[in-house]
Structures are given as structure tokens and as C-alpha cells.
Symmetry: C2
Subunit: 466 residues, 2 copies
């Protein structure tokens, strides 16, 4: 099973302290770079650097790529140019391109001049595609053959290639002379076909492909939806540039999902390993949303002030009784709104509904929230009507206010909670940013207006006022 990171981190730290690079290298041998990276993210900067420098270079380079951005940046800034250039040289090109994020542009350019020209050019090409596009996660190392290649020739290409030449040999792509994608077939198919048969006679002539400027997240979703192990990437003129493989797509998807979950909880920023962030970085990622929500919540106070200011003498007891139910009502509105936002945002992300479906969604949400609101309203009415151990005696009119305000607030919360993500998606924004805490806070203030307006009308019918 998996290596235990805590134990591994302790062992590595001890060996780093003993300054025993030989034993450290032996200890790390055979450990997966993903596990090493996680163990390193538990150590401090100096320890990480000492350990990484003791590792065998290819293991060190692969571990560096697996480290969270902040940690990798800190280490690279302390490594000599020759070491970083060596890493760039060892790594697969798409991983090497990823290291650019962690380097300042001047240093990166300088390093590209040190490594072999061909590699530098491929890295430059990958980086020339738009940020977060398919082009930045693809590899150019796929097997391509002309339509007239025989199975024997295909096998010879795979046999004679070095281990690094192709990222995968499981799919063979058939390209025309001007590099248009004509078809694809699997290595398995090659093995089961006589040696003299031509590529064009066995290829699937209708492969699914994606334009290079499509968002990496979209490419990853398409691949995951259909279970593709690799997908061809074409330029704007339909010429094949490379392939995206499932493992890279999977990584993109996981990062996006982590970011969405964090957005739902009201945390901004990139998905980074928890332990690799400093206290100050954690504060920076959490405080902005809290501040926005905090200032927005000031509005709730203003609503309360407005209604209490207009309160008439003699209505003070009634007002105090109304206030008792404020947390219950805004809590119910906030929770109902969060449920709707979460559900709709998820359905939008998975492509189950699109922004064009807004009417369908609203109709469903109004029915659902109507039923939920009625249930909570009934419960709220009963609760408000029950005599209280602290001796409050509440008039039945107040129970009616609570029972009527609840369905109104819940239906309102569901409307806001479904329209905001759909609206965000409609104008091309990430709906997860319109996340649950935002809806809750918005519904807090507006829900209070509904509550006091219902109270004014219902109590008015009983000849009461507050």
C-alpha cells in the first residue's frame, strides 16, 4: 500500500540532519516521487533542499514536479542553474514546461539556452499556447504513421524508438502529408492484423479530437466522460499537434474539483497542499472572502436598525419576541439557498444542465422549495406557539408570522440560489465562485426584509404593531 508520509518525512529529516547523502539516497530508492513530494511538504525549506540535492537527479526532478507550486518555487530559487537545467533536460517536456510557473521569466529564458535546442523549442512551443489550454498539457511525443504504412512498419517504429520518444504507444495516429488526422488504431489491433495490411485499411476514420485552444478542464471532462486514454489535439487548421493523455487530464480535473470544493467553503486561491502553505498564506487565502462576507453582513444590521427604529413605543416586547426568531429564519434561508447553489453548480459543471435550461431549473426549484418551505413553516409555527420554559408568552399572531415568513424566505433563497450560478455560467464566469457562503450572506439580509414585512402585515391584521 501507500508509503506513510509522516514516517517517511521523519526518516528523511533524520538522515538530512546527519548529513548522510549516501544513506539518504538509498533510503529514497524505489519510493514514488508522489510520496517523496508529500513527505517533503511536511518539512521546512532547508530540510527539503538538503534532501532533494541528495537524491538521484531524475528522482529529484520528478519529485520537484510533484511538489505544490509554492514549495517548488522556494526550492528552485535556491538551486544552482546547472542543476535546474539538468532537471529540465531529464523531465518529459510537458512536465518541464510546468516548471516555468515556478521560475522567474528571465531565469527560465536563460535556462532554455543551456538545454538541448530541440527540447527548448518544444518547451517554447507548449508555452506559446493560451494559459490553461489543451496545448499546455499535451505532449508532442505520439506515434504517427502515413496511411500507407504496413503493420510491420508500425511495429518497427515502436520497436526502434527509445523509451522516452513516445509518451504512449497504445494508440497509433494516421496523418496525411500535410499533418491532418485521418484516423487512429490501437496497438492491440496492430498485433491482431497481418503484417502486410496498410494503416488506412484498419484505422478508425472518425476519431474524436479537440482544438488546441480549448480549456484544459474541458478536454479533461470530455476524456473522463468517455473514458478515453488519450485524445488528439488539432490546430486551427485541423493539423494534429499532439495528444493529451489520461494521467495529465486526471490531474487537471482533480485540481479543478479541489478548487470548486474550496470555493463552496469560501476559500479562494489555487489548490495547494494544506501543510505546504504557511500560516500567512492560509490567512491570505481565507481572509478576503470573510471580509467581503463580513462587510456584506453589515447590511443585515442596517435592516434590523431600520425596522427597530421605526418601531413604535409599546411595541418593544413584540419586537424583542420577533428578534428571537431571526437566527432561525436566516439560518433556514441560508441553508436552503446553499443546497440549491451546490446542486445547480454541480449540475452545470458536469454538463447536466446548461444556462439555456434556466426556466426548467427555476420551475423545478420553485416546486421543491415550495414543499420544503411549507414543511419548515409548519414546524416553525408549532415551535413558536409552544409556551416557553423561560416564561415568554407569545401571541398566536407571532407564530403566524414565523410560519408564513419561512416559506417566503425559503422560496426566495432557492430562487436566488439557482439563478445566480446559472447567470454566472451564462456570462462565462465560474459558477462555483457564486458559492454557498455568498448566497447565505445575501439571503441573511434580504430574508430579514421579508420577515419584517410579513410581520408588519400579519400583526397589522391583529391590530398590533412593533
Amino acid at each position: 500500500m501507500r508509503t506513510d508520509e509522516k514516517t517517511l518525512a521523519e526518516r528523511l529529516r533524520a538522515l538530512a540532519l546527519e548529513q548522510d547523502p549516501v544513506r539518504l539516497r538509498a533510503e529514497a530508492e524505489g519510493i514514488m516521487p508522489e510520496d517523496l513530494a508529500e513527505a517533503l511538504s511536511r518539512l521546512d525549506g532547508a530540510e527539503r533542499l538538503a534532501i532533494l540535492e541528495s537524491l538521484e537527479p531524475s528522482q529529484a526532478a520528478e519529485t520537484l514536479v510533484e511538489l505544490p507550486t509554492e514549495a517548488a518555487r522556494a526550492i528552485i530559487n535556491q538551486l544552482p542553474d546547472t542543476t535546474v537545467a539538468h532537471y529540465l533536460d531529464i523531465l518529459p517536456m510537458d512536465d518541464a514546461a510546468e516548471l516555468r510557473e515556478e521560475l522567474d521569466p528571465d531565469r527560465f529564458e536563460a535556462l532554455l539556452k543551456v538545454i538541448p535546442d530541440e527540447d527548448a523549442e518544444e518547451i517554447r512551443r507548449l508555452l506559446s499556447y493560451p494559459e490553461d489550454s489543451a496545448g499546455q498539457i499535451m505532449t508532442e511525443d505520439f506515434v504517427e504513421v502515413p496511411p500507407t504504412a504496413t503493420m510491420a512498419e508500425v511495429l518497427a517504429i515502436i520497436r526502434d524508438a527509445s523509451q522516452e520518444e513516445f509518451e504512449t504507444v497504445n494508440y497509433i495516429y494516421v496523418l496525411s502529408e500535410d499533418r491532418h488526422l485521418l484516423g487512429v488504431f490501437s496497438l492491440r489491433r496492430v498485433l491482431r492484423t497481418p503484417a502486410e495490411v496498410l494503416a488506412r485499411d484498419i484505422m478508425n476514420p472518425d476519431p474524436v479530437s479537440v482544438p488546441v485552444e480549448v480549456k484544459d478542464e474541458e478536454v479533461a471532462r470530455i476524456m473522463s466522460r468517455y473514458g478515453f486514454a488519450a485524445i488528439p489535439i488539432l490546430d486551427l487548421r485541423g493539423r494534429m499537434l499532439g495528444i493529451v493523455t489520461a494521467d495529465d487530464a486526471q490531474e487537471v480535473l482533480e485540481e479543478a474539483q479541489t478548487e470548486d470544493v474550496l470555493a463552496f467553503g469560501g476559500v479562494v486561491g489555487d489548490a495547494e497542499a494544506y501543510l505546504s502553505l504557511s500560516i500567512w498564506q492560509l490567512v491570505k487565502r481565507r481572509l478576503p472572502w470573510l471580509l467581503i462576507l463580513f462587510v456584506a453582513e453589515f447590511f443585515t444590521g442596517s435592516v434590523l436598525r431600520y425596522y427597530t427604529k421605526t418601531s413604535e413605543k409599546g411595541g418593544d416586547t413584540l419586537l424583542a419576541q420577533l428578534m428571537l426568531f431571526v437566527p432561525l429564519l436566516i439560518g433556514a434561508g441560508g441553508n436552503a439557498g446553499s443546497q440549491v447553489t451546490t446542486t445547480i453548480t454541480r449540475a452545470l459543471a458536469l454538463g447536466e444542465v446548461s444556462a439555456r435550461d434556466w426556466f426548467l431549473v427555476i420551475r423545478r426549484e420553485l416546486s421543491v422549495s415550495g414543499m420544503i418551505g411549507f414543511t419548515l413553516g409548519f414546524l416553525g409555527f408549532v415551535r413558536a406557539a409552544i409556551p416557553d420554559p423561560w416564561g415568554w408568552n407569545q401571541p398566536i399572531s407571532l407564530s403566524l408570522v414565523v410560519g408564513l415568513a419561512l416559506p417566503c424566505i425559503v422560496v426566495w433563497a432557492a430562487t436566488v440560489g439557482s439563478l445566480l450560478p446559472i447567470g454566472a455560467k451564462g456570462v462565462g464566469q465560474d459558477p462555483a465562485v457564486m458559492s454557498a457562503p455568498f448566497i447565505s450572506t445575501f439571503v441573511d439580509a434580504t430574508g430579514l426584509i421579508i420577515y419584517f414585512e410579513v410581520a408588519r402585515r400579519v400583526l397589522g391584521m391583529y391590530g398590533l404593531s412593533f
Copy 2:
């Protein structure tokens, strides 16, 4: 790119209404089962059934497997036994086993008697493993060879197998006579090795494998972490039973992540497509959490009653002023708590921290929430001290109460928000169930106690009471 489900659904509906199965089958030809399933989930029961029955059987069977559980169950209940048995026969065994969820046990047993014995036995074997275990998502169709097999023999096995015999041929597993896993090598390696070399001489003798009773989600996480395309599954005595492939693992992971996101938003139940659920099903998934939270929120009311009941005559104005800040304070506590819960739950799910790290986490969260609480407290103090347009005149003592209560509530929320998911994980529960709305509601009531106790003490120093 992807087929548009809305348009596709409309076209299929029109053809179903026209009762033109020939044109319908032609229209659906070449459309991926995933797209068909999504289009079908937008239609009603009768339309779905009519369309599915018109499709070519293998396409219909694959579409059925991609449908959400509820929709698939409704359709299967209306299909004749012969059709369902035919589907079970066509499908890969792991997909066929999945259909059991949608069938009642007696009917499933009856169907197993109709399909070929060998298939029925494999389905029964897969289903004998614990629910949600690796055993239920693995396939027995992997390439196995003895250590003495030559490369030529390996190629012959792959060449002579039918298309359905192996789920993947990219990895070849070397098994001893008593079925222990000795090693693994890739098909690519076979092609690059002379025909007479033996399997044992080129195999990687130390493959990563997983015991069969491990949770499917855990298997999927291991595969995704290391980017494995397939992983061997062993029984308790170390004999190899099958492999889990990346596409099945990916599906498990997506379902788990969707469930986690929904749990964060306070929605219970399986991950099902939004549009495939009826209004009543949506209510059933949302109401339970809302009811629990609603009843829990009653406690806030009790706290308010307790403090307002003890309030002395003459303190009414002060109490009313204290009440104005209640939504602001419980909002800040709830949001801060949600952030922490979301972050920690995520870190636990990704294995970045384990339950044993609780002390490390608490130490970090205390520092972070201390800084955040101080910032919000300062802002709250300023806000409370500002003269109000509605003419409230608040004593400085009240601003002090708000400014001091805020850091206490935020730190308390962070403590609860980090300890609850860690505690849940520690006792083997899914931490996502201790989700954001739960923490918010809990912090609402307890935060009020903090607020009024701070108020009692601070106002007491000024000789005031409420």
C-alpha cells in the same frame, strides 16, 4: 466536440413520437452511450423506454449502464426478461454486475440462470465481494502468463484472443502456478524485446497491488495519485484475482467527489443527475438535512430567550442594541468555521493530513483564526462605534463587546471546524458528512453564548447590565 444533449433529446423525442424505430436507430448510430444516456435523462419514462427499445441492443445495453440509477431502474422494470438477459450477456462483466443495483434480487437471480453459466459465475463472484470494494469494480479479463513464457508466446496470446477476452492488453501479469503475482511488464516492452526472451527476465518484480477488500474509492485514489492505468487486485492469500482499470477508477472517484460537494452544501444521498430526479426525490434529498439544521437552530432561540429573560429592567435598550449585531457575529463564525471544515476535509480526503496530525492542524488553525479574528474584531469595533443614520447612539462599551466577541467566536469556530472532521476520520466516518452547514449551525448557537458572556463581563466593567 460533444453532442448537444438538449437538441439530441428533442430529436429523439420527435422520432419516438413518430414511432419510427428505423430512423431513430439511424439517428442514434455512432452517438456515444454517455451522450445518449444524458439525452434520455431529459425525457420522461415512456419516451426513454420507447427510444431504448428501438436502439441496436449493444448500444441500448451500454446506454442503460450509463443512465443514473433511478432512471435505469425504472426502465429495467418495464423491460421483458429476455431483453435484460440479452443486455447482461452483451455487457462487460463488471458493467453487468452494476445492473444488479437496479434489479430486485429475485429477478436478478432468475436472469443469471438464463445467461451463459460462465458469465453468471463471474458476475456472482464479483458480487460476492464487499459493497464498494475493489472486488466490485475489478475485471477478471487480464493477460496472465507463467514466468517461463517467451515474448513470442505472449504476442501469440494477445493475437489469438477475441476482442472481448481482455479488458486491456497493455500490461501483462506474470503469475506463479498457485496464482501469486510475480511481476508485470508492458506490451511496449514485449515489442522491444527479442522473441525468445522469457517473461521472468524482463518483468518488473515489484508491482504495486491492492487487496480485494480495500474500498473502491481508496483504490481509485492510489491509481490517480500515481497515474496508474491499471492495478492488480489480490485476495487475502496474495493470489491475483483481477485488475482495476483507470476508467472504472475514474468513475468511482467522480461519484465520490460529487457526493462530497453535495455533502458540503448540505444535500444527502447518492450522486444522481439533477434532471433525472423527480421533484419529490429532490425534496427527499434536501429536506432531512434542512430539518436537522432547523431543529438544531431552535437552540439559538433558546440561548436568546435565556439571555433576554435574565435581562434586567432598564437594560432593554442595551439588549436591543446587542441584538442588532447577532446576525453579523453568527455569520462571521459560521463562515470562518465553514472555511476550516472545507479545507481540512479536503486535506484528509487527499491524504495530505491524517487523523494523527490533529495537534499540528489545531496549532496552525489557532494561529490562522487568531489573525483573522483580530482583523474582523477590529473592523467590527469600528463599525459598531460609527454613529448610525437611523439615530442609534451606541456606547463605546458595546463596540468593545463586538470587537472582543468576534475573535473569540472565530477562534472557537475554527477549533470546532477542524476538530470535527478530524474526529470523524479518526473514528472511521466520512468527514464530508460533518459538512459546512452543520458547523455553521452549531457555531450559531454556541457563538451566541460567547457573545452574551463577553457582553455581560465587558458591560459589567462599565457598570452596565442588560
